[in-house]
Every structure is written in structure tokens, then in C-alpha cells.
Symmetry: C2
């Protein structure tokens, strides 16, 4: 690269490791930052340092926050009888943005993948089973992705919870809100008919 | 947003101001960083801090570097008789990557735009005229963009340098290397014919 100064090269190299940025857009981003030193580069450096110093994973649910247990686990307005199981913190954020649930969360940290050597103990499944054993918990909602890996993981968790007191449910399949039938795949259409609701 | 902790929200907000990242990809980037705290978040925070502390604009040519004058202006292997004039530091980097010239550079910092109130003194045109007055300088290559704004700026600089000793040239128009004629615009094709070269 040999731009100008190893500081700039290093900044570009690290920026290029962000998702969505390649070598060219990392160069543009670095220039953008350096041209906005006081408005953007300084504040962003400080924000990253703050996040580095203060952000931790919640030891209960696996969410990331500045406190552990996180603010969702300690919020008294949230329903402690429902645990919504997600694959990633990004999925948790998506559900929170949608205000889709008032339950608590549990972040698995991925999906089971025997071929890649990812077993239950590599995810936070033991911790989930422990939480599910709490008599206050009445329902586990498996909000995992509708992929083969997600569904395999959901089946494993369901098996492990079978015979207990807790109710296990999963997300509904169907037509996305605002979606057009003509553009949907056969599996989704079949599921939407099968799981039709009274009008 | 109300994700988890104002530190994370602030990080997402600032990341979203990078070119090429929107709100959604900024969230993904923030998660990616936090999940790779020691490998990426910490080093990137430090690299930004370093850049903030050490990177300056070269007072001669306007390049950004850790020293002023920059390493290109002080490199004895570069030809001091040629000044390549570019609009932005990004353009300078592009020419350097292509090893297109062994001359020195001059970064204008933009283009003339009377409607937006950008006059010669808002760009580094006075500094360029001063540099062009040095008897060691024999040629000014105007490597500005082939846009209306770029060409207007090039014409202005040419006018200001008219009558002096220094030769003023501009980039050739023509078919990009590897380009197909069928996909080129009429103006480029006409220019390529007009400026045809002996085979």
C-alpha cells in the first residue's frame, strides 16, 4: 500500500476487517475520518475505547451491556416467566427494536454444528437448561433462525427440556407483513396455509 | 435505539457516519467489534488514537502524513520539476498505488464551485501558484477529475499560470485499459479517436 505513514496504513488495515468494508472502502473511511479529525476520528476513538473498557457479556443471558447482569435481565417490568432464546446479540437487538416481547432473553452464541465441532457446551445451552429449571420460568420461546442449523439447535433444546414443566414454543412461519405472495417460496406459502388463523 | 448501554449506542451512531455504513451495517460492525474485543476493537481504538495524535496535513502539498513536509515531498528520489495536481488525498493515493508518476504532488482540497461559495482561496490554489513560481518546477500536470467542476478548476489554474515558464498538461482521455468500446460513452470514444497514438 505504502500510502503515507504506517499509522494510516494500520488504520486502513483494521478498518478493512469490519463487515461491509473492503480495502477500497476502508481507504475511503480512513480518509473520511482523518479529514474529520475533531468531529469524528477523536470521538470514535474515544467511543471504541469506552466500549473496550466497559462493555461486558451478561453472565445470565449473554447480551452485551455495560453491566452484568444486563439491564434487560434486571428490568423489573420484564416478564421473568418467559425466556426468548436467540442465536446472536444482533437477533436480540432486532426483537428489542420491534418491541416484539416483554420476556427475558437468552443468547446461545451460535448454533449446533457437529461438523464444525460446535456442541451444546460450546453454546450457552447448559446455562439455558439451568435457567429453565427455575420454577418462575413458564415458557421458552425458541426465536432461532429458520435455517437448518437453527432448527437443529431448536430440536436439541426441545429434547433436553422434554418432560419438564416448562412450555416450549417457536416463532410462527408465514407471510411477512407487507409481503406479496407471488414472491414467496413454496415452503413459506405452505406453512402460511397450514398455520392459517381465524379472520 | 435503546440497545444496551449508551456506550454501544454511541459507538453505533459514530460508525454509521462512516462512508459505506448505514444504521444497519453500523450495528453489525459494532457487534463485530465487541465480539472481537482484543483482536479488533482494542487495536482499532488505538490505531484511531494514533492517527488522531500523529497525522497532519503536509504544509507543502496537502497530503496527509505523520510528518510535514510529508515523505513524498522530502523523498530525494522524486522529481522536483514535476507537480501533479489532484483534487483529494484519495486521488493522490490512487496515483501512488498505480506508480503513475515520480513527480511531487499538490492536493487542491476540492474543486472551484462559485455556486457553493468555493473560490480559489478556499482551495490550495495560491500555494500551488507559489510552488509553480519556483524555477526548479518545469511542469504542472493537472490530474483532476474529468467532471465539469474538475475541468473548470483546471482551466482556472491554467489561466493563472499562463505567461509563466512552466508547462501545463492534463491527463489523456481515452479507452480505459481492458475497456470495451461498446460500453464507453460517446465523448470518451470521440476523444480516443481524436487523440489517437501511432501504433
Amino acid at each position: 500500500m505504502s500510502n503515507s505513514g504506517s499509522e494510516i496504513d494500520r488504520l486502513i488495515q483494521l478498518l478493512a476487517r469490519l463487515p461491509g468494508l473492503g480495502p477500497r472502502s476502508a481507504r475511503r473511511a480512513a480518509l473520511h475520518l482523518i479529514e474529520r479529525k475533531d468531529q469524528l476520528l477523536g470521538p470514535l476513538a474515544a467511543a471504541m475505547r469506552d466500549a473496550f473498557d466497559h462493555v461486558v457479556a451478561c453472565e445470565t443471558c449473554g447480551n452485551i451491556d455495560t453491566a452484568s447482569p444486563c439491564h434487560l435481565c434486571t428490568d423489573p417490568r420484564r416478564d421473568p416467566s418467559v425466556i426468548v432464546v436467540v442465536e446472536t446479540v444482533g437477533d436480540l437487538w432486532a426483537l428489542e427494536r420491534a418491541q416484539a416481547t416483554s420476556g427475558r432473553y437468552h443468547v446461545l452464541g451460535g448454533t449446533l454444528s457437529p461438523l464444525d465441532g460446535v456442541g451444546p457446551d460450546d453454546l450457552s445451552i447448559p446455562k439455558l437448561l439451568e435457567r429453565a429449571g427455575d420454577p418462575a420460568v413458564k415458557e421458552i420461546i425458541l426465536a432461532v433462525n429458520a435455517t437448518v442449523e437453527g432448527q437443529t439447535t431448536a430440536h436439541y433444546i426441545t429434547d433436553m427440556l422434554a418432560g419438564g414443566e416448562v412450555k416450549v414454543s417457536r416463532l410462527a412461519h408465514g407471510v411477512p407483513v407487507g409481503g406479496e405472495l407471488d414472491y414467496l417460496d413454496d415452503g413459506t406459502l405452505a406453512a402460511a396455509i397450514r398455520q392459517r388463523q381465524p379472520f
